[in-house]
Symmetry: C3
Amino acid sequence: MSGHFLFLLLDLVGTFVFAISGAVAAKQRKLDLFGILTISFVVACGGGIVRDVCIGALPPAGLANWRYLAAAIAAALATISAYPQVRRLRNPVLFFDAIGLGLFAVSGSQKALAYGHNAEVAILLGVLTAVGGGAVRDVLLARVPVILQREIYASAALIGAGIQVACEQLGMAQPWTPWAATFVCVGLRLMSLHFQWHIPTFSDHNAGKTSSDQ
Amino acid sequence: MSGHFLFLLLDLVGTFVFAISGAVAAKQRKLDLFGILTISFVVACGGGIVRDVCIGALPPAGLANWRYLAAAIAAALATISAYPQVRRLRNPVLFFDAIGLGLFAVSGSQKALAYGHNAEVAILLGVLTAVGGGAVRDVLLARVPVILQREIYASAALIGAGIQVACEQLGMAQPWTPWAATFVCVGLRLMSLHFQWHIPTFSDHNAGKTSSDQ
Amino acid sequence: MSGHFLFLLLDLVGTFVFAISGAVAAKQRKLDLFGILTISFVVACGGGIVRDVCIGALPPAGLANWRYLAAAIAAALATISAYPQVRRLRNPVLFFDAIGLGLFAVSGSQKALAYGHNAEVAILLGVLTAVGGGAVRDVLLARVPVILQREIYASAALIGAGIQVACEQLGMAQPWTPWAATFVCVGLRLMSLHFQWHIPTFSDHNAGKTSSDQ
């Protein structure tokens, strides 16, 4: 019961912040009110709907549970009315996207485990839920997809989902485990944005050769 | 029985006109015959397939019922052979997209209700079915997505789906209700294109500030 | 049993080569290691996940069966370490994409038949599985989608899936039938790339008129 409430809370907060990132991006493209609401809802609930379809939780909570729609609409309206304040953040889309990334990585893997799937399904669906919202937002709005940017992104979601699943599978999960896993993921992502951290890649030792790629 | 037939008719006409919009857009991009057929089918049936997956109607009608494939192929072939006539419309993609928007908003919400889902699921799936086809078409063909254009789009689908669901839930549905709801949605969309109507938005009173957004 | 093993083999080889095409495309965009792994997995398993969702095979094999994840990761790592060799191919993305196209067209239609669906569902899901991976790759990486290129693409997948389904439905399937169907599809696609074959289209006899299209 408490676990279920915790999951719902994580998922709704993730919906709220992803909806903010969608609303800011839609507002920057000068969409009208219903366009902003539509983009906010699709971005905030799209990842969770894909997750629910994959684990057979039909109809998807994002469609059937009014709280998700209410969270997305509230976030979009709050963003519109507080837009001058939101804009003072250096890059509000990336900031709220980072928080949503962490929350959805953890809540997505939690829900897959709760439906009886194995650790691999749980981690993969955590990452896909977290990465999906931002990818849909950027494709719909013709922005450079966050997944193409060079900082740590998918790997932060992987680490967040991995911590959560490992703790649950090893019987070490505490009430604060999801928050800790979310904190690690969001922290990694924000620090990689701030310090322009890159993952050491195999491409580095080919740097001279690859620079001539198309 | 009559209701079922009416739903199938609405859905097939929607498939036909969305397939025309896909075929015109694919032809403008100079795709070959099978490319045009593929785009037409994906655009016409993609939204309905997502809807059927979300309500658990498997396999999706767009794949299992040959009438949808036949309607999409017939629309694509008709578009190709009557292309000089179709081109005389000022913007054939937007024109047929508007009709498909109305038909899919209404038939999508009808099918969700028929599968026993609540009003919220029905309205949301009506809007997503209606908006999905055009969004997929524009993303695949790298056009400016219709959802980004400033006229009334998602809100017209919302009003169409809302009228249909309200009438059915309140027991006021008549045989002509779906056509009336479709007519309102298509009319709103076409008039907003013609008169360049915009929804009053919260952004208007920030116009001076937002004009400097990226 | 043998048929099941054959299907798994086709599907895993298809996953491997699509993951290579995704890894090459992601590396050309200079993504980091986890970005490359994510794109490789999404491209390689995205089409199969959509197919499994449509035929009700939940959770999708691409998420639940570790072999798919392992094949995608192995392909991505092999691509990164042998990148100088891979680059010597004139267009490695299109080359591996063609092989994946044939393998997924055949394995996708096989799996739909194995789940008891009719010939139409099997052929359509074969084509969508085959076309989906490349379309997702190109949309995520903002490349010109392969489906827009003028050579034979969707039609090659249709012929491959059609041969496989026809042989199975007519009771003529041999152990080597899937390989023959794959070979025909891949051969058609590669030859159309090499010789710049085009399908005769209805647009040809309108060439003078359509050249003024937007």
